[in-house]
Structures are given as C-alpha cells and as structure tokens.
Subunit: 304 residues, 2 copies
DNA sequence: CTGAAAGCGCTTACAG
DNA sequence: CTGAAAGCGCTTACAG
C-alpha cells in the first residue's frame, strides 16, 4: 500500500467523486505587486484548506483571458477567482465558464451589457469612500488646490476613486474642475513622464491624490526630476499600500488595501460558496484605511 | 456532441493516457517582482504550448515547500519548475517528487549533502561573471574603494556574486577586505536600514555593487536619508533588472537578468525534457549583461 | 462488517 | 474502415 513510490492520484478521485480540489486563479497582471500579493494570499489560504491553485495570467488581454479560462475549465476546478482584464464582459465570461462553476470576481466590476441571470460573488475595495478619505486628509492639512492624478478614466476603479475625490471637494465647497483630473496609464513609468502637466495648471496645485501607489511613486520621481521635493513642498497620497510604499523616499501616505489579506478573503469567500452553492449572491466591499506617512505634508502658508 | 454546456474533461484523458497537461510551478517568493516576472514568463510559455500551470508558493519556508510539492504531486504534473526556498536539500526534494517527474530547478543550487543519482535540470544566472562585470564597470569609472553591499552570505547566489566581485578587485590589484562585504537581508527595507554602515568604514567607499536591485533601491533611499546623492556623489549598481530599476531616481545601472525571459526559457527547457526524458542532464547558466543607467557615476577626482 | 463489482469520462487496442 | 469493449485509479453502492 504505502510502499516505495506510490503517489495518490487525485485526478482519478476527482473523476469518480465529481468534486475537484483545484481552484482556478486568473490574474490580469501578475507583475504588479498588488496582484502578486493578492495571488500569494489566495494560494496561502487555498493550500491551507487542501486545494491546489491553477494559475492563469491574462496580461490585461481580454483574448488571452478567454483562452486561459477555456483551458482552465477543462480541469473542472471547484471554483474560479478572477481578477478581470480591463473591459471584461459578463456575458462573454459566462459563456466560457457556464453557470455551474462558482465564480468570485475581484477588484473590478464586469461590464454587464445585457441583464442576465449570471450569478457570481464580488470582492472589491471601497474605492469611492477611500479616495474621499485621502482627499479629506489633504484638505485637513490645509491644501485647497488638489489634483486627482493618474489612472484610465474608463476603468471602473478609477471612476469610483474620482467620485470619492469629488465628494470630498464638494464637502469643502471647492468646485471640481475637470482639467484637474490628469489621466495617465496606471504605471510608475507613465506617471513619472506626465509630472510636468501638474505645473501647466494655473494656479499651481499644492497636492495630488494619486490613483494608486504605482502612480504615486512615479509622480514622486517626476517631481524630484522637476526639482520639487515631495513630502516637503508638494503633498502626495497613494492607494493600495504595496510593500514599496513604506520604504520609498519619502514614505508614502496611502490607503491600505492589504492585498495579501484580500487574497485570503477571496479564497475564503469562494470556498464558502463551493461548500454551499445556494448562498445568496454576495458583494463584499472592503473599506480601506488611511496609513499616514511623510509624503502628505502640510500646505504652505497661503501667499495670497 | 458540441451541444450546450459540454466541457472536455481533461482529468479523464490524463488518467487514461498517462500524460498530464499540467506543470507545477513552485516559487519561493511571489511578492518579489523578480519571481513574479519569472512566473509570468513560465505561465506565458506553458499556456502557449497547451499546458496549465499549477502554482504553489513556499514563502521561503522549507516546510511549506515540502507540503506544496506533496500536494502538487498528487495531480501528477508532467513536470515541475522549482525556484527553491533557501537551504533546500536535494535528497529531501527527491523524496517528495520521486525519480519519474522531470524537475527543473531555477536560480539557486540545491544543497547536496550526500551524492545521489537524483537527476534534474538547472537554469541559473551567471552570478559570478555578472558581478565581476558590474565591479569592473565601477573600476573603469575610476572607483577604487568599492563595497559589496547586501544579501545573506550563506545563500548560493550571494556567495557566487561575492566571488565575482573579488575576481574583479584582484584583477585590478586591489586587496579584498572581508569587512567591505556588508550583509543585509535581501530586501529594500533592510538595505535602507544598514546604509550608515558604509560610512563607518575608513577610508569611506565611493561606490557599492549591490547584491540585487531590491538592495540597491533600498541603499539609494538610505543614502538620500543620510544626505548623499546616489548617482552624483556615490555610485551604485544592482543585479536583476526588475521593472522598477529603470524608473527609480536615479535610474539604476544593473545586470540584466530578464526574469520574464528566464521564465519562458525555464518552461521550454522543462518541456523539452518532458518530450524526451532520456536527454542528458543539463545545467544552463545564462550570462547577464550590463545595463548602464545613471546610478553608476564616475569617481570623484582623487583628493589624496 | 467485508469484499468484489460498477462506473466517473475519456482513449486505445481489438473485433467485426 | 467502423464500432463496441476494455481499462486508467479511484470511490461508492451493493451483494454476500
């Protein structure tokens, strides 16, 4: 029985029992530390509960995401955790995975072009309230001219975060100016490159809430390039709290999303549904909390 | 046949054919961008060749690595790509995965306490020659007092890189001083924290070759904290070329390991062996090339 | 309570 | 050349 070299064949068991011990994890961008941390958390919890992780990365390509889902489905996973590529359509994804396999969507809403009975759970961040907190933090430090910096306006998380920014400004009786929301690709490189657009504005802003940490870190580099000193003569906040945020220069004030904990949470939510498919559909929106560090400095005394 | 809802059951096919279409990928630290990029490359190539990736992360824990390998083995993967946790023992790993399943070890040598017939392929970086090139680059810029900064001396890659550093110094007739090799955990945080140790040395160094990019980026922050200007009054090189290296301030001169390409290469090597198990055991050492950016600045004119 | 048989969904070797 | 049967390694329902 237990003699040399025997290895249990779980595929055979799966075939017989009609219950799989694998969970598919499809990630839009594994080279982004936010999602890498998320994946680590997912794998940690799945492993602890005796499941194995089937990985697929879509690299933000919708075509590749379809292909990856199709390939993973052939392994009949017990469930799927999907961090969708931009502009993923719900109907199309339903076509790939059917109604039987539990699905948990992370971070980004699927586009629902037509109403459908397609049921899936959702885990996301409270982007709007979070960005409102970040903006209010800068307001409380005396800033009045605050830019929303970075991100693609057509992504759902960017739209939500922009709304939170506007909520905070309106509460402070500051009129929202569309040109004070600067669009960049959500990467460090692009955020760095567009830093000069900040100072084309008149009057010049004294602070920026950034779409996410990658953008904030890029903007800090761009400011330094332009002879400014983030955390001293310009205030910045990020969003996500990736590991680098704590150790950059200056350390970044940001909204803590704790991506690894979100990964563990996603795995738990999915496994709950696997255990009990008749649960009502859930949408969990996680609050994010302000982590204060040095990058959000007080506003200079008003010179007006 | 192709009517609504039918999904091919690959587990059944695997059972019958005795050939699996899954490959296990075990990563020591997925939250490190170097390995996240590597994983992306592996998944990219495996996906293109019709394989699916079974992910496991060990978080540098040998115990967890055993557990993960055991769990993945039950899925009878066609092969295994292992980026081992520190101090992984070859005999122990052989015990987990047996002699049948092709194994490709990435990046770090396994510890072979006793000679054994355990066969596996290896893909690694030419750490010694690479660090020699980095050091010679600083020498060619006029530096003579160069520190080797960061990393754990008992990791194989750190040992190899230290040897390359020493090769270069000896070629330049500079005596190697043990106290000029400063040990830190290979993280940004730790590298930042130990920066002051550089200036406890007498005479003070003018440059440092860093164990890897994370360490180099941390050291740059530490230098800035101490009022120094990396790339202006202190020269730095990294190792790996992670995406951040190009966009930090100043951009980091580093040895380009191209982790995503290494991932693709690892997948290809493994699939070659899967296709042909009788191939002789291979050990592929990839040369790394100098990528010049601004962090490696010329030495100041000698004041002696 | 124990043990032999049936069957999960495929593929392959064999009979017609 | 086509089609029915056997079998991969498990688990479960059933017979003894």
């Amino acid at each position: 029985m237990q003699r040399q070299g025997y290895v249990y064949n779980r595929a055979a068991a799966t075939l017989r029992q009609h219950v799989s011990t694998a969970v598919a994890l499809v990630i839009n961008d594994l080279s982004n530390p936010f999602f890498a941390e998320f994946a680590t958390g997912v794998d940690e919890t799945l492993g602890a509960k005796g499941y194995v992780t089937l990985l697929g990365s879509s690299n933000e390509s919708f075509a590749r995401q379809r292909q990856v889902l199709g390939s993973l489905m052939e392994h009949h996973p017990a469930g799927i955790i999907l961090s969708p590529a931009e502009a993923s359509d719900a109907t199309d994804i339903e076509l790939m995975i059917g109604q039987q396999t539990p699905l948990l969507v992370f971070n980004r809403a699927l586009i629902e072009t037509q109403p459908t009975g397609f049921g899936y759970d959702f885990l996301g961040l409270d982007n709007r309230a979070g960005m409102c907190v970040a903006t209010k933090h800068l307001l409380s430090l005396g800033h009045r001219r605050i830019v929303f910096y970075g991100g693609h306006a057509d992504s759902s998380s960017c739209r939500e975060r922009r709304l939170g920014y506007q909520d905070a400004l309106r509460d402070a009786n500051i009129t929202v100016d569309e040109s004070w929301m600067i669009e960049t690709a959500p990467t460090r490189l692009e955020a760095n490159a567009h830093a000069d657009e900040l100072f084309a504005l008149n009057p010049a802003p004294t602070a920026a809430v950034c779409y996410n940490d990658a953008v904030a870190l890029g903007l800090m580099l761009g400011l330094a390039r332009l002879g400014r000193h983030p955390g001293a003569d310009f205030a910045i906040t990020g969003f996500d709290n990736i590991p680098e945020a704590a150790v950059d220069n200056p350390p970044l004030t940001t909204m803590n999303a704790d991506p690894r904990a979100r990964g563990r949470q996603a795995a738990e939510l999915l496994l709950q549904r696997v255990a009990n498919p008749s649960l009502p559909r859930r949408s969990v929106i996680v609050p994010v909390q302000l982590t204060q560090r040095e990058s959000a400095s007080p506003a200079p005394p008003t010179s007006a």
